[in-house]
Symmetry: C2
Subunit: 145 residues, 2 copies
């Protein structure tokens, strides 16, 4: 069981961008340098985050990215749900391809659904703001001011 | 986010086998017919379940498989933990390959660890016995007596 690398990187973009003051812009180049992730890959992720209305991107020489809303209004559970569109824990979670004969009477399906709900209930308790309360420590680890 | 097909099929083997009376043996052929999963694939899964001490396999003409312990003693959370050996939700979950600079001070890691614990806390509340309380319904869905 794992999350996509894409989701991991997207959350790092939101954490990094969330540390900027209002109006201050981050660049893909900076994030690429800090996390050693290719600018090409980050570009695609930022494009997706823009489409999801989590990031606002300003083009041009003095352009860059910033959070679309204050960090305390961006919920981590929601972000993970948006980015991970594939929660097929069992074959029966995807009605289109399911051919498990017992699914109409299967308790395992309910157990895993409840487990998934519990998973998200925890993540729903966090916003991007909660992930950057130790901003000074994070800045030091990132090697930025 | 998903579980391996392998885990899904292994749980079906345990559910099917758990419905048998003590001493009654199930065959890979039967399980293959019911769930439309290849016998070859099921053979590998049964081999793994035997190694994990969840299934006892008896060879020979009148051989077959049965649960290694009563169904109420086989915990679903434990089975999923045993079968899914890869819980790398983020890069930092695998210390061997992690190169995320903020991991020593990262709250996201803790949030996802707590979420994963909550996921398993739900599954730990179920045994294989809980998955077959509606045995008659399951037998009907499987098309067996």
């Amino acid at each position: 069981m794992n999350l996509k690398k894409y989701t991991d990187y997207a959350l790092r973009v939101l954490i990094y961008t969330g540390m900027n003051k209002e109006g201050e812009l981050a660049s893909i180049k900076e994030i690429s340098d800090v996390f050693d992730i290719s600018q090409h890959h980050l570009g695609k992720i930022v494009h997706e985050l823009t489409k999801l209305d989590l990031i606002v991107s300003t083009r041009g020489r003095y352009g860059g990215i910033q959070l679309a809303r204050p960090a305390e209004e961006i919920n981590v559970g929601k972000v993970v749900r948006l980015l991970e569109n594939d929660f097929v824990l069992l074959e029966c979670f995807d009605k289109g391809t399911n051919h498990c004969v017992i699914s109409p009477g299967c308790t395992l399906k309910h157990a895993l659904n409840k487990a998934l709900q519990a998973f998200f209930q925890v993540l729903d308790g966090y916003t991007i703001k909660d992930l950057i309360t130790n901003e000074n420590e994070l800045r030091e680890l990132m090697g930025i001011k």
